[in-house]
Symmetry: C2
Subunit: 191 residues, 2 copies
DNA sequence: TGCGCTATCTTTACATTGTCAAGATAATAG
DNA sequence: CTATTATCTTGACAATGTAAAGATAGCGCA
């Protein structure tokens, strides 16, 4: 099957090959034809599985986002308090993109996430990592017996996420010299 | 001159045309040939002014960064205290990218800023907006008679910039529903 | 079993794009 | 005025995304 006219599982193979190319050669080297060649099929074969290049890219983004979420969930699991979970999540967030900046650019660069969310019914308009953060945050309020208006919550949430996301962004750019070791974030950074 | 064989000021015309295309049709529609056509010259004419497409893009980035810095400086000027200046700068920062998300993607997306800084001797390894923030921050320490170690300073600086840059980033994505009006940031967001 | 339907893949073709090389044109220095 | 140089054009090529037409094979149904 794997060596016959029909590939067997070309769709996932194309996604995997795409991720590999992005990791090894950067997103600018990701072309439909190279991905197809990497899978040993003709350059038009992907069109049986994806409407166009964008649809392949969206599929790859979903795949990477899943890996991202796995790391975040992994970091959160088993933490004694919501606060500890949030800190851990922040660390995992920055570490993930710090380890492979290409992912940051790939996920948040080029096309903004709005288009991505629109194409992806599963998200229903909300970004999974942000939902996870909100859950942890609400838990934090509960654990500490805090009462906040929805607006106050929203502001604090955005603030936390901005810090973490901003740090990830900056860690990826590295344009600014800094004595911070991004792979081992200091607690002082996270409120 | 403007209508003869020689264009007169093609270099800047190409940059302007590039910015226009990015604003109107997004970065993915920016091609050397279209930029050239928009200026009424042949498709290879840009090569007299730019080594390749990347060099044109870098020139455009410089131009946009200048506009960005103008807004930041404008926001900072005439503020009574460093704290007020920092708040104003944060507002201007987010507002700038909130108004035209394409600029955010263009400046910080695709190619990371490291390459941009490397190609640009003028920056000497530091990003102008960050330098401005650092100046304001040091002024803030001075005005309030605060003593901090360099590491503490660096952490606080990164933190402030992370919040602002992260907010700008999130404001551009808009994937997350939020009750925040990005064009009129609440002071509570900025420490 | 055999027939056809459909998903999958190939081949061919075309437009767009970045880039290069060779030549044309004009500005400028000497 | 002439030679040099910067600027621009033309023509070509390879890489790419994409569409159309056809080949192949698996699967349901008679």
């Amino acid at each position: 099957m794997a060596d016959s006219y029909h590939h067997g599982n070309l769709r996932q193979a194309l996604i995997d090959a795409g991720i590999k190319i992005i990791n090894e050669n950067g997103e600018e080297n990701l072309s439909l034809r190279k991905v197809a060649a990497a899978c040993g099929v003709s350059h038009a074969a992907p069109y049986a599985h994806f409407k166009d290049k964008d649809e392949l890219i969206e599929a790859i983004k979903d795949n990477v986002t899943e890996k991202f979420m796995e790391k975040l969930v992994e970091a959160v699991e088993g933490k004694p308090t919501a606060d500890a979970a949030i800190i851990a999540m922040g660390r995992a967030y920055v570490t993930f993109f710090s380890k492979n900046p290409d992912y940051y650019i790939f996920l948040f660069g080029k096309q903004n996430i709005t288009a991505h969310l629109k194409m992806n019914k599963e998200y229903k308009g909300d970004y999974p990592p942000f939902l996870l953060l909100r859950r942890m945050y609400l838990l934090h309020l509960e654990e500490n017996g805090l009462e906040k208006t929805v607006e106050e919550q929203e502001i604090e949430l955005i603030k936390i996420w901005s810090i973490v996301h901003g740090m990830a962004s900056i860690a990826c750019m590295k344009g600014v010299k800094s004595s911070i070791n991004w792979n081992d974030i200091d607690e002082r950074l996270l409120v």
